[in-house]
Symmetry: C2
Subunit: 368 residues, 2 copies
């Protein structure tokens, strides 16, 4: 194989596919990137068997062929080369020369035959949305997936498509995040659970581009994302997602409208006294026109007031401030509304259209 391409296009392509290279594995072929120049396009592929990414790069093929090269080494070499044309040439023993200006690198590659190809997904009834929308909807929900694997389903997100609505849900036992967007077309109903890892990696590749679309195709075992010159294939998580509709309700006793920035700054300050070992809660004392926020612990205390608009009863309620913060950080609106029932029932943060809903369980505390 002999290919010539610019440093820029090779480096961009590698940056995309390396997202699917596992950091630790016992199978050394998985640590490789496949450079496939057997057709008239140069295709880079990485595949850790759960997540596979393939991208096409611009370049010239002077001799067709295929080679698997250590991903980290290849990426680092290309990154450090001058900004010019790079030639990659292999011989029959998989020895690979990488040349750029006067720099010459030599690496021992692997046969492309050992490499596992990406699964084929049938593309019917594919869902279309912009790269921007997909990136946003992931950012606004991914923080509340569970990080440990004790419940596999909680490590993924529900993707639910019904008519022209795309709903994404994540939960970790303490909170639920729900985002809904409207699609341009209507589709038949689909519900699948996509691994959080896949969504984290894909959101790093997606651009903040409202003009460029992503096409999502779903089979029984896999989900396929196609955009620009790139395709991402991931296994789905088996099982049925939690029935969250039963947990949501529309009744409330207290409704509080508050400036998001003031609230967020105040929660941020409160976390100074909340270290992992001491579980002092963040206490909100909601009365007419103001909420008094306080934290008390052995090393000190903080207290402050924020103006609010309140409807309904006064309430004294405690939270883990990090759960509040993570939800507030992804809401783009300047004013947010909290809906509460009592100090033991979940608090909802949602807007009128309900295109986002964040449910957060309160924590118990002893009144001081």
């Amino acid at each position: 194989m002999k290919i010539i391409c610019s440093k820029n296009s090779l480096s961009n392509g590698l940056q995309i596919v390396t997202k699917a290279v596992p950091s630790k594995t016992t199978m050394s072929i998985l640590e490789c990137i496949l450079i496939d120049a057997t057709t008239d396009k140069i295709k880079l592929t990485a595949n850790d068997m759960e997540l596979g990414i393939e991208t096409m790069i611009d370049g010239e093929i002077s001799e067709k062929g295929v080679i698997a090269l250590d991903a980290k080494m290849l990426f680092d070499i290309v990154r450090k080369l001058p900004d010019n044309e790079i030639t990659i040439q292999t011989d029959d023993s998989f020895k690979t020369n990488i040349k750029c200006e006067s720099a010459k690198f030599s690496l021992v590659g692997k046969s492309g035959e050992e490499f596992s190809f990406l699964p084929q997904i049938e593309k019917n009834n594919s869902v279309i949305l912009s790269q921007f929308s997909l990136k946003e909807i992931i950012r606004q929900t991914i923080f509340s997936i569970a990080s440990n694997e004790t419940n596999k389903i909680m490590t993924g997100e529900l993707f639910e498509i019904k008519d022209n609505t795309f709903k994404v849900v994540s939960l970790d036992g303490h909170r639920i995040s729900i985002r809904k967007i409207e699609l341009k077309n209507s589709y038949e109903e689909k519900k699948v659970i996509v691994p959080g890892k896949t969504l984290n990696e894909i959101s790093k590749i997606l651009k903040d581009n409202t003009d460029s679309d992503v096409t999502i195709s779903i089979s029984s075992k896999h989900i396929l994302f196609e955009f620009e010159n790139t395709i991402v294939v991931s296994r789905l998580i088996d099982g049925e997602f939690f029935k969250i509709d039963q947990m949501l309700m529309n009744d409330y006793e207290t409704k509080v409208k508050i400036n998001k920035k003031n609230f967020l700054d105040s929660i941020d300050r409160s976390t100074l006294f909340i270290r992992e070992k001491n579980n002092s809660p963040f206490i909100m004392d909601v009365t007419d026109e103001k909420v008094e926020i306080s934290v008390n612990c052995a090393i000190g205390s903080m207290k402050e007031e924020i103006e609010i608009e309140k409807k309904g009863k006064d309430i004294l309620i405690g939270f883990n401030p990090y759960y509040l913060m993570e939800a507030l950080k992804v809401i783009d609106e300047e004013e947010i509304t909290l809906f509460m029932v009592n100090s033991k029932a979940p608090c909802y943060i949602k807007n009128e259209k309900e295109n986002y809903t964040y449910l957060i369980l309160p924590v118990n505390f002893t009144k001081q």
Copy 2:
């Protein structure tokens, strides 16, 4: 005590003095910052017994007094407060209230009496140079102090003042870095060893300012740096520094002039194949008009050529590329000159004026 000052001035002051707060200590008073408002100035002090920093901040004293507060907590609180006036008020039991807008924090402080004051240094024959010069001279030598404590003297830098020359030397057994600058005045001869830690911390506080001076005073046990509203006092390292003049010489067999950026880029690429476990050296094969650089190891190899201007014999010599890189990175000139004798003798990088000299020992390698 009751003081009122802007967030900005308090936060800047704390940023300076916290450099002398130890990250780990068994004496909790050392983790504190002393706020001293007993005179008509607000003075912040931190002191880990090796290094002490004191800085004056603007503000209003409405009630004189002194308090020691946990440095990390105070710094984090101030950092997260709104950009407005901050009031710090203490009572007889050292309870301290920190107020800013509607935010109120309460902390338990310590009596100022437990706090160790900075040692007094006599200020005669003090050396004066610009903040910029001191910062530069530290940056250009600090990388070659020894990191482990087996030889205490190697963890510091020699400060040698003689007539109007200020010379700084550091060495770690593999290399020596020497920087000389000319002072405006002449001084009597002084030689002291300043701890690397002190120099690292002070260079973070110094500004890139050629107009503002630093005054350095030296006693038998301490060194004092004074600049703007800040003073830094450090213990010196006991003992006599290495006699480096015996190691330096002016003879050479090969003199090589090379473009610094090309050389540095090439060394940087070579490090891809040089991981901690395999000690493949960076080999330079100097012939007329070019140097061929190569690295060979089990996973691959690299080779490249750089144009040079050469005087004297051809030479084949190997180095630890990181030692070359660290020296090259701090040299501001576009072209550098290497002086070599043979493959076992040290290589010198220096300019004509010899205001910098970097000596690097070569490494052995088997010719392939």
